[in-house]
């Protein structure tokens, strides 16, 4: 009898690992069941950090791509800051039916300034408070700026220039958001000398262009 009890408590490390694995798989499928990934593209070419892509007789290099992803569910709201320097993947709950690209007015006003929302990540405008929803920076021969750089810090949470992008997504399946950033880059270069760094009309227009360039792949 004693031996019987003992058996239960004497799982070998191997068994323990197995058990942990099973528990974590169960946990992740039930709670954070699936992946959401962002796939920035320039026309049909996937963006790779610091490598040049030919587009419109121009060669474009992306040096930074960061975006906020907010997942509202019935019980909670999850906020992720995805950065091409790390990876552009986060876990989202199975039952989520929408995601928002960017920090909308409600989230901005109730921010607790911690985790993904900590201003230390350089995604909060201190002089014109609110979060940068999407940051895209790079180099293009078409840019008139010093060293041919272009910069888009797109955001804005107050009327009439609220610019976060709400998207409906299917349940229970991994989501891949493919974003063609070429039209947006073309617009900032031809209309705004390569820089938009504050909320307002220009950021609004660029976010709308970005919104039209998103396709949801399952």
């Amino acid at each position: 009898m004693m031996c019987h009890y003992w058996d239960i408590f004497s799982l070998s490390p191997k068994h323990l690992n197995l058990l942990l694995l099973i528990v974590s798989i169960l946990y992740s499928t039930f709670i954070f069941g699936r992946e959401l990934s962002l796939k920035p593209m320039i026309a049909n070419t996937p963006v790779v950090l610091h490598s040049s892509i030919v587009h419109n007789n121009d060669s474009i290099i992306i040096t930074s791509f960061k975006a906020y992803i907010v997942i509202p569910t019935l019980t909670d709201t999850f906020v992720h800051l995805l950065d091409i320097e790390d990876n552009l993947i986060c876990s989202i709950p199975d039952d989520a039916e929408s995601v928002i690209i960017g920090i909308d007015s409600m989230q901005t006003v109730k921010t607790n300034f911690s985790g993904a929302l900590d201003p230390i990540h350089g995604m909060f405008w201190t002089w014109n408070s609110g979060y940068i929803n999407v940051k895209i920076e790079g180099i293009s021969q078409r840019s008139m700026q010093r060293n041919h750089i272009f910069q888009m810090h797109l955001g804005g949470f107050t009327a009439p220039h609220q610019v976060s992008i709400p998207l409906r997504i299917p349940r229970n399946t991994p989501i891949k958001l493919s974003i063609d950033i070429a039209p947006c880059i073309d617009a900032v270069l031809s209309n705004y000398q390569g820089t938009v760094m504050s909320p307002g009309k220009h950021a609004h227009e660029l976010m709308r262009i970005l919104q039209r360039s998103i396709t949801i792949e399952q």
């Binding site: 006003v109 921010t111 911690s114 900590d118 408070s129 107050t158």
Partner: protein, 331 residues
């Protein structure tokens, strides 16, 4: 016996009268913190500590000094790190818990968010959050204070913002002659009464009692300073109707908070009143005051005496606001 009942009855009546009339103050928008709480202690220390600026020379209190009602007295445009001159005059910090947007143009949406602006602005404290957190984490004083205040360490951005915002929420001024009058503890002099009537007629729609601001933005038609060309609220909203609209400032403790206006153009209160009486810029299309305000020189004197009644010495000299007179209690 009859007397005692009579006296206690009238006392009771008087007390209830007072407490009812105390309600002339609206509910705050930001919860007011307990001045004795460890979070406020931390905030008070941070507010007065130059460690927050890049070259460790400037603290919040350098530009917002208690003896100037937390404004900056000697400069029209405030000075920051390495003596860089800013674009605007430092406003007084009074009853901020009732405010919903901060800065002359309302660029900040909360008391906590506002703290980030001076910390990282080039012409103010010119620092980065990384450096600030790093410095604070290396000081045992702050490790202890943060542990006490939040029960966790190391210090993070959110702690700095919350502590300073909580401290600022305690900067409450409601103990002026005007407040005593509202609570029926004193009666205004004839001159103050006349000034009060004029005030209600011409000023109250913007500088609304009892906070002496309605929290909105307006253009009080100052002649345009072309060297600064400050477009105010328009820079934030890009709404052309709001060109040169600025946050309507409180009028409490004006005697201490000179110079006046977003660019500190007026040193004396009388100059401000002369502006409303004869200086309104009639060419400014976006102005919120259509005509000169008809104030005789007698009226101006009466208005001045009313504005003086908004002075609250217990605010200016409250030891609880200062680190000097309120040494770190819990250490």
């Amino acid at each position: 016996m009859r007397h005692i009942i009579l006296i206690s009855c009238s006392m009771f009546l008087l007390m209830s009268f007072i407490s009812v009339n105390d309600e002339y103050f609206p509910k705050p928008k930001y919860p007011i913190a307990d001045p004795d709480s460890p979070i406020v202690s931390l905030g008070r220390e941070l507010f007065h500590d130059p460690i927050l600026s890049k070259d460790s020379t400037v603290s919040c209190a350098s530009c917002h000094s208690q003896y100037n009602a937390f404004a900056h007295s000697d400069h029209a445009l405030s000075h920051g790190s390495a003596d860089r001159i800013g674009r605007r005059n430092a406003p007084s910090l009074i009853n901020l818990a009732w405010s919903e947007s901060f800065m002359w143009d309302g660029a900040s949406f909360s008391l906590e968010a506002q703290v980030l602006t001076p910390l990282t602005a080039h012409h103010e404290m010119d620092n980065s959050l990384d450096t600030i957190l790093h410095r604070l984490r290396n000081q045992t004083k702050y490790s202890n204070l943060v542990q006490k205040a939040f029960g966790e360490s190391p210090i993070q951005t959110k702690h700095v913002l919350k502590a300073i915002a909580d401290y600022e929420s305690t900067l409450i001024s409601r103990n002026s002659r005007y407040d005593s009058m509202r609570m029926h503890l004193v009666e205004f002099t004839e001159q103050e009464k006349k000034g009060y009537v004029l005030f209600k007629q011409y000023c109250n729609r913007c500088h609304a009692e009892p906070l002496f601001t309605n929290g909105q933005f307006a253009n009080n038609a100052l002649p345009v300073d072309t060297t600064l060309n400050d477009l105010g609220r328009y820079a934030i909203t890009q709404d052309s109707a709001q060109i040169r609209h600025f946050k309507i400032p409180t009028l409490r403790n004006l005697l201490y908070s000179f110079p006046y206006m977003h660019d500190g153009r007026f040193k004396r209160l009388r100059e401000v009143l002369n502006h409303y009486a004869e200086g309104i810029n009639m060419h400014d299309e976006t102005r919120s005051i259509k005509h000169l305000i008809p104030l005789s020189s007698h009226d101006i004197t009466d208005l001045m005496s009313f504005l003086h009644a908004l002075t609250d010495r217990t605010f200016i000299f409250n030891p609880a606001f200062s680190t000097k007179q309120y040494p770190q209690r819990n250490q």
